[in-house]
């Protein structure tokens, strides 16, 4: 017989502690405990059985690993927090007694904690840290845009703004931005740093107000950690790229709201500032050659080639990516840690890269921002892809060129077209030379990896092409591009349209009829081929949209329906019966799992079906509107003709 085991001495009862017990053990306040949990990244766990973990009670409590709490007990930050508590008492005492000089010296010597060791502990390797900076960047960018108040001191906002600028500088310098997305929440960016995708969200430039139900203390604690983490990450990124960290700030430019331009990227090898890495090659080659230098050289060579061979953009793209990969491969020589081995570029990661990754997409172009567009967003986007950009003085100082510059190829403009009769011929000439595009063009070009045709994005176009997420949808979700072939090949269609524009009205009508013929034939075919309910319905709707002859259509539909129903019934009855019989053999557990999976599958497919039906509806509506317009036009023409005759 084994030894008798006492209850509550082993297993879940030992492995978990409740939050109250943890606080009691650490002898700190709840606020301090929260702060510690945030800083150390300790979070509650869900025991398999709450009853076993909580001495038979099933009260709603949160559980922590007992070992996590035991480690916390030796935390230097906890000691500092205790010291701070004593300090707060001393200070309030001194203030209460009116001992101002004592209070001052106390305040000057107050205990502060450092988070360096926590950063090292939570992120043992640099890759770990880079993988986890998403949230940190989001917070930094948010706080950089907040107005300061008593709870959010101005120094904090300043520091956040500095960190945000440093990150953008690095991303621009290393050309690591991959995707961008203009959403209703803000702008999502995705960069690829050390082979890790880093996604962050930047709010649009509006004043944010902290809601009352948000605990600012929690956010500030997170921010403390994030500032330290980002400081170390940026230090490593900058020094690995051979740059000085922190980048020197030009106070004068900063005063003039130059934004990112106020910081100068400085090479560690050369004390003078150098904005572009183009001529770096020559300088480096003369120096002693270390392994790092070689890679740096390769990288800069690649960069320079891409910069030079602007004409052949697509050729330079893959080269630069391979150079990037190689560069990323080397700075992680870790023998002991398997983690870094996993982070090496595998075949999969190479394949997951977009095939036409082109980091100097905008290199041949020069952009000018119109007054109403957001400068931080587009300056960052354009410069990340090698373009030059200027802006009017109202958007801040530091523009490299002004509006009259002849090198400007594109103007990013977001306002309706206004006829200006008082234009000078010079202006008109300049206007005709430049392309006026809406801001979405920039982002769509970046996501597509190529320069799109400017036509649908021209100034004043009311119906822009839909802006789709470059991050894709979930597996099996509705794909809007797969629906109509016309959406997929935007360019071709546009070109076609341009051709059509040239044709006169009659030609247009003929085209229209032809279209209808085609559509009706297609619809009939679709009906005949329809195999399930949804596609049948879609086909019906499409046929309706095509304006098919009603009797023939009805007949066809009736036939198709009957056929479809019969086949479906036969198939379903036999199949379902067999399936039901097989289901009899399932265990309860398996059946529940099956039901769950089926439920989610059905939900997803329902959504897809719903959306695809709706797109057909919208199509029909627009078709009908177009048909109405056409008919009206025709009527007017006829009346005109009549009146003429």
């Amino acid at each position: 017989m084994g030894r008798l085991r006492q209850k509550g001495k082993a297993g879940a009862a030992k492995a978990y502690v409740t939050r109250t017990a943890a606080i009691k053990k650490l002898q700190c306040s709840l606020a301090d405990f929260r702060r510690l949990c945030i800083l150390k990244g300790i979070f509650p766990r869900e025991p398999r059985s709450r009853k076993k973990a909580n001495k038979g009670s099933s009260a709603p409590t949160s559980f922590y690993y007992a070992k996590d709490i035991a480690y916390l007990a030796h935390e230097p930050v906890l000691r500092k927090l205790r010291e701070h508590k004593a300090f707060a008492k001393k200070l309030s005492r001194a203030l209460g007694r009116g001992e101002w000089s004592d209070a001052k010296s106390l305040e000057e010597n107050k205990p502060v904690y450092k988070l360096d060791h926590i950063v090292k502990e939570r992120y043992p390797t640099f890759i770990d840290a880079v993988r986890d900076i998403d949230d940190a960047l989001c917070m930094i960018f948010l706080f950089a845009s907040l107005p300061s108040n008593t709870r959010v001191p101005p120094t904090l906002v300043e520091n956040c703004a500095r960190l945000a600028a440093e990150w953008q500088l690095y991303v621009m310098h290393s050309r690591s931005l991959r995707k961008a997305f203009l959403s209703i929440k803000g702008v999502y960016y995705q960069a690829e740093v050390m082979d890790q995708p880093v996604t962050w969200l930047v709010p649009y430039q509006f004043t944010q107000n902290i809601p009352a139900d948000v605990d600012v203390r929690v956010m500030l604690t997170f921010l403390e950690l994030y500032q330290t983490l980002l400081g170390f990450v940026f230090f490593k990124l900058y020094t690995d790229a051979g740059l000085v960290y922190p980048p020197p700030l030009d106070a004068k430019k900063d005063e003039g709201a130059a934004g990112i331009g106020a910081f100068a990227i400085q090479d560690t090898t050369r004390p003078t500032t150098k904005p572009l890495p183009k001529t770096k090659v020559v300088e480096i080659e003369g120096r002693q050659v270390t392994g790092k230098d070689v890679h740096k050289t390769i990288k800069s060579l690649a960069a320079s080639t891409t910069a030079d061979s602007n004409a052949d953009v697509d050729m330079a793209g893959p080269e630069s990516t391979s150079a990037n990969d190689e560069e990323d491969f080397v700075p992680q020589p870790s023998k002991s840690d398997p983690q870094s081995v996993a982070s090496l570029p595998t075949l999969h990661s190479l394949q997951s890269l977009p095939p036409t990754l082109n980091t100097s997409l905008f290199a041949p172009y020069t952009f000018f921002l119109s007054r109403e567009t957001s400068r931080p967003i587009f300056e960052f986007l354009v410069r990340s892809f090698g373009g030059r950009i200027g802006w009017p003085a109202s958007s801040g100082s530091g523009s490299p060129f002004d509006e009259n510059d002849d090198s400007i190829t594109h103007v990013i403009i977001d306002r309706p077209v206004v006829d200006r009769p008082d234009e000078t011929p010079e202006e008109r000439e300049r206007k005709s030379r430049r392309k006026y595009i809406q801001p979405q063009w920039i982002v769509d070009c970046i996501n597509a990896g190529k320069i799109l045709v400017e036509g649908p994005y021209a100034q004043g176009v009311s119906e822009l092409p839909p802006h789709l997420s470059p991050f894709g949808e979930q597996e099996g979700a509705y794909d809007p591009t797969a629906q109509g072939g016309e959406d997929a090949d935007m360019e071709d269609e546009e070109e076609e349209e341009e051709v059509e524009m040239d044709e006169d009205g009659d030609g247009d009508d003929g085209e229209q009829e032809e279209d209808e013929e085609d559509a009706s034939a297609n619809a009939l075919k679709a009906i005949a081929e329809a195999t399930d309910e949804a596609s049948l319905r879609t086909a019906e709707l499409a046929a309706e949209a095509a304006g098919l002859d009603s009797t023939a259509f009805e007949k066809e539909v009736g036939k198709a329906r009957r056929k479809f129903k019969k086949a479906a019934k036969e198939k379903s009855t036999v199949k379902d019966k067999e399936k039901d019989m097989n289901k009899m053999m399932m265990s309860n557990k398996q059946r529940k799992l099956y039901e769950k999976m089926k439920y989610s599958q059905n939900k997803r497919s329902d959504e897809v079906r719903f959306l695809s039906i709706r797109v057909v509806h919208i199509l029909i509506l627009s078709e009908m509107q177009r048909a109405n317009l056409q008919a009206k036009k025709r009527d007017i023409q006829k009346q005109k003709a009549k009146s003429k005759s």
């Binding site: 502060v112 959403s183 109403e372 567009t373 839909p466 398996q590 797109v615």
Partner: protein, 650 residues
């Protein structure tokens, strides 16, 4: 009033002490002695003084006499200093011992005579000790002090009426008589009544007198008369050296005075990841938030835009229950996009998730749900089996039971109206029908192939019927079995079951060859089961106290009830094909009995609410049990008493 008496005694005593002290002062001029004396009297005294054993200024006798009673110590003291007249030593006429006799004290004008003349000298003892005695104590000379004569209650009352001082007098237990209170005592009582300080002389509010403090009363008491040393007014050389060191450091800028030590120091960044990482596995990174989808775009495809109903529904649901935290919205250009009002709230929620939400690692099953369904052979691959109806028999009443002959040529069926019909399978022709009085409960063909008959269960009776058109040999054998020429010897115990065979001359096709009459009250036999060999047959009736179970042996024409009492409602019974085992299915359980040893082997628990059918494999190892709740249990009898497999028809 013992306390009264005692206090008066004390008063006297202190008086004498005072006197002695006064005399001492006069006589020896030494204070210590009087103190010593006070110390000796500490037990009897008011406790004003502590005992002072350290000071020993007196004789040895004095020390010895400390423990003696007060009067004696007083006396010795007095004797030592010859204050009072000498005591005479005489022989007591009571004890016969020597004793000292003091001369009578003449009361002076200032002596406290009011208590002096108390004759009773018993001291401070509980006076109720003398309650039953004629006396109240002893006087100084050891003579009994008799209780004064006291009249009855009326006398007492009259005395109080007559004596004007009666209300100012109190009963003295020591003398057993009333004593008038003195004026002082009355005064004291009055003051006590009025909650005043008992002592009339005492002034609680007298002005403070400053004896030792205040101007001109300081006392100068130097600790040492030594002159001040020189070092007191020469500055320290070493201190100067130390201070100069600091001053020099400050001048050179090595020490910055009042430099804040910790606050407002900027964090220093360095290559934190340059050294080798620790062996610990890094903590699992927090799950990343989902990436934005097309619906979140500022300019989504139109199909993503919510209809008014969807918008309303979204607005009505609680924020926690919404499947997405925003409503898709289309803006015609980027400049029209407003700030997102829930941005901070979203970030905050994400942070709450990071540090407050319990995290569980779940393995995500990435399998096709269809792969979970076990693959069974398709029924179509199991052909041939009957797929269409070839024949149709019809009964006028509700057909309740049907049985097929062992050779498969005949079918017999029974209905509620009491009709039993015999059909030929191949043709579907009704060959014969029998009519009985009540419902047909059960029908079962005998599994023997050398004979041919079937049993029919009607109300309280089981009939054995022989089908027509049998070959003579088979008919002969059947007759031999059911109605042998020599009946087997009936068992000695009178069985309630009667086996009857009609006389051979009355045999027709219509009448049964053998009838088994179950005991009255056993009701309709609704289940009949044969043993494989065809000699034993078991029937289950709806009524009866043995669970309605009977086992009949055809060859011996004997019936027995295997159970005295059965727990539960017996539904079905079944014989084991090879062993002498017997299965009894009640509503929820199947019990397996060994008939030869007459004991329960095991109870099978199918977990069915109501068992409807049961059958056993010819090998005798497998049992299947069906229920009305669309479940089928398959028992392997060599395994546990739980089903090996349960099939549910859903």
């Amino acid at each position: 009033m013992a306390a009264d008496g005692r206090s008066s005694k004390k008063r006297k005593q202190s008086q004498t002490e005072d006197d002695t002290a006064g005399t001492f002062k006069n006589a020896v001029d030494m204070e210590m002695l009087s103190e010593e004396e006070d110390g000796a009297n500490v037990e009897s005294d008011d406790g004003e003084y502590e005992e002072f054993p350290g000071i020993d200024g007196d004789t040895d006798e004095d020390d010895k006499e400390v423990d003696e009673d007060e009067e004696e110590s007083e006396d010795t003291d007095l004797e030592d200093h010859h204050v009072f007249p000498q005591a005479k030593t005489i022989v007591s006429d009571i004890t016969g011992q020597q004793k000292r006799v003091f001369p009578e004290i003449e009361p002076d004008y200032d002596s406290d005579s009011s208590t002096e003349d108390g004759p009773n000298r018993v001291g401070n003892i509980p006076m109720h000790w003398y309650d039953d005695l004629p006396h109240v104590g002893y006087d100084m000379n050891g003579k009994k002090v008799l209780k004064p004569a006291r009249g009855d209650e009326l006398d007492k009352f009259l005395e109080t009426v007559e004596d004007p001082a009666a209300w100012t007098s109190a009963f003295d237990k020591n003398t057993q008589s009333d004593k008038p209170l003195t004026n002082e005592e009355l005064e004291l009582i009055k003051r006590l009544y009025e909650n005043e300080v008992p002592d009339a002389e005492y002034d609680p509010y007298e002005p403070t007198v400053e004896w030792f403090t205040g101007k001109g009363k300081e006392e100068v008491m130097p600790l040492s008369a030594a002159p001040e040393p020189k070092r007191r007014w020469i500055p320290s050389k070493w201190e100067k050296k130390k201070v100069m060191k600091i001053v020099r450091a400050i001048r050179q800028g090595r020490i910055v005075p009042h430099k804040p030590k910790t606050a407002s120091t900027q964090p220093q960044f360095y290559a934190i990841w340059s050294d080798t990482p620790s062996e610990h596995a890094p903590p699992i990174p927090a799950p990343k938030p989902a990436l934005p989808t097309n619906a979140e775009s500022y300019n989504p495809p139109e199909e993503y835009l919510p209809t008014p109903e969807e918008r309303k529904k979204w607005e009505e649901t609680d924020p926690e229950d919404r499947d997405r935290d925003y409503l898709p919205h289309k803006y015609s250009s980027l400049r029209l996009v407003p700030g997102y009002d829930r941005f901070i709230k979203d970030r905050f929620n994400r942070q709450l998730d990071l540090y407050m939400a319990p995290r569980v690692q779940r393995v995500k099953l990435n399998i096709d749900p269809e792969s979970l369904i076990p693959k069974l052979p398709s029924p179509s691959s199991l052909k041939p089996f009957p797929t269409y109806k070839s024949l149709r028999f019809s009964h006028s009443g509700l057909a309740r039971c049907v049985s097929i002959s062992p050779d498969g040529a005949w079918v017999v069926s029974g209905d509620e109206k009491g009709m039993v019909a015999l059909w030929e399978v191949n043709v579907g022709r009704e060959v014969k029908r029998w009519r009985f009085g009540g419902k047909i409960g059960a029908l079962q063909w005998c599994p023997r192939t050398d004979t041919s008959y079937f049993v029919v269960g009607v109300e309280e009776t089981i009939h054995c019927l022989v089908p027509p058109h049998l070959s003579p040999a088979v008919y002969q054998a059947t007759q031999e079995t059911l109605a042998p020429a020599h009946l087997p010897p009936s068992s000695e115990s009178a069985s309630p079951v009667k086996w009857t065979t009609p006389a051979s001359n009355t045999w027709t096709d219509e009448t049964p060859l053998l009838t088994i009459r179950l005991p009255p009250g056993s009701g309709l036999p609704n289940h009949i089961a044969w043993h494989r060999k065809g000699d034993y047959m078991a029937s289950v009736s709806s009524g009866g106290n043995q669970g309605g179970v009977w086992i009949h042996q055809i060859s011996k024409r004997h019936s027995q009830a295997p159970f005295k009492k059965v727990k539960g409602n017996v539904q079905l019974v079944q014989f084991h094909p090879l062993k002498p085992h017997f299965f009894v299915a009640t509503q929820q359980y199947v019990r397996m009995y060994n008939l030869s040893e007459q004991k329960l082997i095991k109870t099978l628990m199918p977990g069915i609410k109501w068992i409807s059918s049961m059958d056993i494999h010819p090998s005798g190892d497998h049992l299947i049990v069906g229920g009305y709740d669309r479940k089928l249990c398959w028992f392997d009898l060599e395994l546990s008493d739980k089903p090996y497999k349960v099939l549910r028809y859903v």
